[in-house]
Structure formats: C-alpha cells, structure tokens
C-alpha cells in the first residue's frame, strides 16, 4: 500500500459515490429536464474519478506502467467532451417532442422565443404568396 495506490482507491470510491448520486437523482427529480441535470453532471464526474483513479492505482502496483494512465486520460477527455453534447441532444429532443416542464417551473423563455420565431416565419411566408397570386 503506497501513496499512489491509496490515491487511486480514494478516487474510485469518490467516483462510485457520484454514480450513486446520479442514480438517486433519476429517482428523486420530478421531470425529465431535472433528471437530465443530475444524471449528466454526476455521471460525468463519477466516470472521471473512476477512470483517473484506475490509472493512478495501476501506477502504484507492480505490474503497472504509465500506459494505463495515458489511456484512461484519453478516454476521460473523450467522455468529458461528448457527454454534455449527448445530454444537450436528449434534452432538446425532449423539448421538441412536447414533454412539459415540471409545474413548479418559474419561467420558460424558450417557448416565447419559439413563438416569436414562428410568427416571423408566418409573416415572411404570407407576403411572397400574396405577391405570386396577383
């Protein structure tokens, strides 16, 4: 048991704790948007902790070399870059398919924006059509 092994074990433990929080958040939150909030953040940091933890843990053992750490760092960076994008895609798709916000929500600027955009498009479509008929 040396310092590297201990650090790695601690990181993996913290990571699994955040995994647990992520799963708990899925149960406790009221609607899809808030579930996405908790699950994305906790799962990303949880994976980061577990992966870097495994890399550092492997450094501390006899068979370990630096190859473990560089690979886990690469995977962690890929995950860090792609996880928020998938969350964004899912939440946007949920909104577009009409899933309502939780009734406790205080403000919805996006609906206002979509409605004003729709009105603009209708205005723009009306004028050329009238011109074509004449």
């Amino acid at each position: 048991m040396n310092a590297l092994t201990a650090t790695g074990e601690a990181l993996v433990l913290i990571g699994t704790f955040f995994y647990f929080l992520s799963a708990l958040g899925l149960i406790r939150m009221p609607d899809v948007y808030n579930r996405m909030q908790t699950s994305t953040k906790s799962a990303t940091l949880g994976s980061l902790g577990v992966m870097l933890g495994v890399g550092i843990w492997a450094l501390g053992t006899d068979f370990g070399n630096v190859a473990w750490l560089t690979k886990t760092i690469t995977i962690a960076i890929f995950l860090l870059l792609t996880n928020p994008i998938s969350a964004h895609t899912l939440i946007r798709a949920a909104y577009k398919s009409g899933i309502p916000l939780w009734e406790g929500s205080v403000v919805d600027r996006y609906r206002e924006h979509l409605e004003s955009r729709k009105a603009e498009v209708e205005e723009a479509e009306k004028t050329p059509e009238e011109g074509g008929e004449e």
Partner: protein, 168 residues
C-alpha cells in the same frame, strides 16, 4: 476570424492526431512512432477540412496558456456542480426552482460556442437546451434571476473570459 491556409490546417490536424496516438499507445518505440505518424498524415489528409478553421493559430502561446489555466478552473467548477447536485438530491425537501432562461454570449467562433455550451452543461445547475446564434437557452435548476443580463452574468460570464482568448 478568417480561415487559415490549407497547409496550416493540415499540420494542426496531424499534430492533434499524433498526440492522441501517443497517448493511446503510451510507447516511444521508433517503429510505433513511424506508423503513428504515417496514420496521422493519412487521416489528417481526409479530415482536416472539417476539423479546424484556424489551423496552427490555435497553438499561439497565449491561447495554450489560457487553455491550461482553464482546466483546473473548469474542474473546480465541475466539482462544485456535483456538490450542488448532491445537496439537492439528498436534501429531504428537494430544493429546486427550475426554469428556462435566456443568455447572451460575446463569443464569435463556432468552436468557442460549443465549448461554452459544454462548460455550461457541466457546471452548477445549468444545462444548455438550445443555441441560436448568440442566444443560449438554458435550463436552470434554481432560477434566481430570469432577466437576460442577470442570467448571463451568473452563467456565461465566468467562462467567457477564458474562452474568448482560447477560441476567439
């Protein structure tokens, strides 16, 4: 920001690909390096057009320094985000006050906007719902200020000072 020359974009793509190869193989054996360089050159030739628009200008020392300084800042924000989530999930009363707010950004480049959206998603209580030009629609778990300026001050401003230098 105009587009860089083709050579510069190609070289930048090859450098990034070769760095990823180095990390994945984790060996400095000359044979591995040769194959890696060869593959980076081939893959780079196919992909540089969609990979980057500013080429080697991305490796300007000022940008690299800011990018390195951004990493701990971002990780710290992410840890705070998770403690915040932990508090909201474990608290018996479930103290959430969600809503969708609108923010403005000063960033110009597409990559910068992507990085800002990613950063917003991973930091306390916010997740990017949609981006339309320079307007961000953000689902905020605890709305304290629903005006455009107030939300920008709270959500986007802390990252913009870094991302403005890194991506322009």
């Amino acid at each position: 920001m105009g587009e860089a020359s083709k050579i510069s974009r190609y070289l930048y793509t090859v450098i990034v690909l070769f760095l990823i190869w180095l990390f994945l193989t984790a060996s400095l054996d000359p044979q591995e390096l040769e194959v890696g360089l060869l593959l980076a050159l081939i893959v780079g030739a196919f992909t540089y057009e969609i990979f980057t628009t500013s080429g080697l200008a991305n490796l300007h020392p000022r940008r690299v320094v800011y990018a390195i300084a951004y990493v701990p800042y971002f990780l710290w924000a992410m840890i705070m985000a998770n403690l915040d989530v932990a508090y909201r999930v474990l608290h018996p009363k479930r103290p959430i006050n969600p809503g969708i707010v609108e923010c403005k950004t000063v960033l110009k480049s597409d990559v910068g906007k992507l990085a800002l959206a990613n950063s917003i998603t991973l930091t306390p209580g916010t997740i990017t719902l949609d981006v339309d030009d320079d307007r961000y629609f953000i689902h905020w778990i605890n709305v304290t200020d629903d005006s455009v300026e107030g939300a920008s001050m709270n959500i986007t401003a802390p990252f913009e000072k870094f991302l403005k230098v890194i991506f322009g």
